[in-house]
Symmetry: C2
Subunit: 494 residues, 2 copies
């Protein structure tokens, strides 16, 4: 059993993170990248033992955890590549025009790190969104030091991964305090971390309640700080008429697969399915029901999550005008999540905010619309989402431009004919979205643009070339992309 | 006398801004740019009458206002250029890899507008940071509709400029509601605008008290929204030893010019001058005192600003261990700001938070340090700033790397051997800085990067080329820069 960190310990940790920041921020992009890649190597070197510990703590199968570790290693190495490649620095140079009246002086700008970043790991991704996950990798790439609060549901896994980071820091001769790992089961530790004066930004993945609390603590400080909280969503899937007519059965199988994947424990789990009434929807529902009955309940991440699912599901199913379409026919053991599909009319959905809430687990509700007008109404009255999906032919999309525009307005990722689960790690990914999906729709927590959450521009006016950071020197020694006098170029400045 | 808008009027205005948003966001970059350039033309067409009205309302000389209008026109046209050029869209494309296991689908990302933006004009820049100023221009470039609350101190000027925007909207056949102009003397109108559910972002330039209030209203909404408030700063100027030894007299003249420019009514006014004790500082202070005595008091923007200056100045001068070095020797009429220089020891500064506060007007305090260690202490204990300046030889900077690093950490713009007043409008400019200079150090309110405050990414997964926005289509019809499979290119995708 791990012990909660004390306030005194947190003060020491933040003091060290602050001191280390002043050294680490001066390290080159290449030094930062080597450090991040070394973390990836050390994470791999933890071998199967890490998977066993994580599986015991989270009830996730080892095969899934092996994939997640691979993804985490890929994430670390792709953020290291992006860090070194330097586009995220947004280097901009406007050279002097001495003969202008008044003369223009030389002005150059690039990104620098914010300061120590506090990272809160997610229960459902013990590797990819936890100790050495995307938040940590992007903060290190930006030049920030990192303090991770381990998720109490996988504290030992987090200790092992933290060990890999400490080892990498040691190998790369990083300053003491570049990384710290603390434990806390209650709110006190989190609050002390977020409100500490040396904390300059926060990364979080988890529940709305948790993210909202951190966001408010961050804003209420004497010096407010950016808190990026990814708080999940219901990820609506819209079934458009021509596509539904053509492929009701295939769509039903696809949706059930996505709803029940990993016992439904993904931020991108499709919790809302919207379609128009009619014979194609009947076919869809029939297969949906058959398929759901055949999916076995699965053990959830921890008893708190299982209890939350059972209660939220019961509450949703007991709402007026909600029908239960299908429930897994296998018996469920304690702490298991039972795959469940409900249904309600668009009017019931529009009139009842409870039906808009995320039920974290293998649950989804089908909303039946009378016509496209009602479907657009549903889209317009749905809160901010990480993703919206449409199952549609090109004809469907061309014929329903109003729906498409309404959906663009509420989501961070807009998917055609794919399910929302499965978040590719690449530069074009956006894992974010309008509130309440996240606390700031302008940032992502997946893909190398995630680095930008933890960096800010600094403008250097009238500096001698010799004193400028290498990234902004005339000769462009690292050959990075820079905007020079409004033109993107890798060229040196003559 | 203009009338305050009522809550009912604000509801109508926001409703129209929301409806217009859904049309305007679909307009092409080129349509948006033409609209912004038309505003510039209409602003120019207001002729000298606008300058006369503005001068009567603000007490600013017509010559200064003529320059400011030119700057505003340049700002509009340069943001229009940036809008059209499209780099701010941060277009990213990762093409499908069907034979990967699992296959990768096509994923593309670009910026889209947040929604209606509420803009609060600044009293000290009736054109450049007001009705058709940088916030309005960047919001229109992003594809947002705009509601401006006129600054009550130049309501008629604001009405005239709003007229130019309405005319441009008319000429360009923009949707009704793309722009609105409301008046409010108290807090009620501002609060109603910021807390309205259809408001999706706020831009503000002004006082700390005002900016902080908007920031809190924005955060406390059911759906929090980004509030970018630029709240001014004291803009410390550090005089390093070798430079001070060489150029004490020239530096003194330069500093006085900057402190008293425009009756000191700039966010970038240097309110804090830090130097080491000794003979060079004596020479500097001697010239500083002579020069300040020769600068006449000037009429301030409005009686409230003049009253604030008189009170803040009196409070600063009455602090323990603060000496008055020099005061303008000319008599002052009511509502004039009297140029004043004070002085205090580093220890007095470190122990008294009042000396850290902005005194908005032609006032500055010289902080005397015993040694470089004390100077670094002062740097480390200074709050977030829009700018820091160092007057220094290259030797000074090379010998004082710790001071340089400490300053990088607290400011948005770091200037060598220039005064902070005078903010160039160019892409490399950063007009922002750590709190309390602004509410979010990651964004700027000057330069085309200001557009990014009002835009967010959307990721389009698995879309047919024909349905993608033109900016993301394979053929790249507008020839914008895009990152395709991690490489920046303007090429079409084969």
């Amino acid at each position: 059993m791990v012990q909660d960190s004390t306030i005194e310990e947190i003060n020491v940790v933040m003091q060290e993170a602050w001191q280390a920041f002043h050294q680490y921020r001066q390290q080159s992009l290449s030094q930062r990248s080597i450090f991040i890649r070394t973390i990836a190597l050390e994470l791999e070197a933890l071998g199967d033992e890490l998977l066993r510990v994580a599986s015991a703590e989270t009830n996730l199968p080892e095969a899934r955890l092996r994939n997640e570790r691979n993804r985490t290693i890929f994430q670390l190495s792709s953020y290291a590549d992006a860090c070194e490649q330097g586009s995220w620095l947004e280097a901009r140079i406007d050279t002097a025009i001495p003969d202008r009246n008044p003369p223009r002086v030389d002005i150059r700008k690039m990104m620098i790190p914010l300061g120590p970043v506090v990272v809160f790991g997610a229960s459902n991704f013990p590797f990819a969104y936890s100790t050495a996950g995307g938040d940590t990798a992007s903060a290190f790439a930006a030049g920030c030091t990192v303090v991770v609060k381990a998720h109490p549901a996988h504290a030992q896994t987090s200790d092992l991964v933290a060990g890999a980071i400490f080892k990498a820091a040691d190998i790369c001769k990083m300053p003491k305090g570049i990384f710290a790992h603390v434990h806390g089961t209650g709110h006190e530790v989190g609050r002390a971390l977020v409100t500490h004066p040396y904390t300059k930004a926060v990364g979080f993945t988890g529940s709305y309640t948790g993210g909202k609390a951190l966001f408010e603590w961050g804003n209420q400080r004497k010096e407010p700080i950016p808190v990026f909280a990814e708080m999940g969503s219901v990820n609506p899937v819209f079934l458009l008429p021509e596509k539904l007519q053509q492929s009701a059965e295939d769509l039903a199988r696809m949706v059930v697969g996505s709803v029940t994947l990993g016992v439904g424990q993904f931020c991108t789990n499709p919790g809302l399915i919207i379609a128009m009434e009619g014979e194609p929807l009947q076919r869809f529902l029939q297969i949906l029901a058959l398929e759901v009955k055949n999916v076995n309940p699965g053990t959830m991440l921890h008893p708190g999550i299982a209890k939350g699912y059972t209660e939220k599901r019961a509450s949703a199913l007991s709402q007026r005008d909600v029908d239960t379409i299908a429930v897994s026919s296998a018996g469920a053991s304690p702490n298991q999540g039972v795959p469940t599909i409900a249904s309600a009319s668009a009017q019931a959905f529009l009139n009842n905010p409870v039906l808009h809430e995320e039920v974290f687990g293998p649950y989804s509700i089908v909303i039946r619309c009378k016509d496209i007008k009602e479907m657009i109404e549903v889209a317009r009255h749905t809160e901010g989402q990480l993703t919206c999906s449409v199952m549609a032919t090109d004809n469907d999309l061309l014929a329903n431009a109003d729906l498409v525009e309404a959906l663009k307005n509420i989501c961070g990722r807009f998917i055609v004919n794919n399910v929302p689960t499965g978040v590719e790690v690449c530069l074009s990914m956006h894992h974010g979205g309008p509130y309440p999906a996240t606390t700031d729709s302008r940032f992502t927590s997946v893909g190398a643009d995630a680095i930008k959450r933890f960096a800010r521009p600094i403008c250097l006016q009238n500096w001698s070339d010799i004193l400028l950071p290498d990234e902004l020197k005339n000769e462009n020694p690292f050959g990075i992309w820079r905007t020079v006098n409004n033109e993107l170029t890798k060229d040196a400045i003559k």
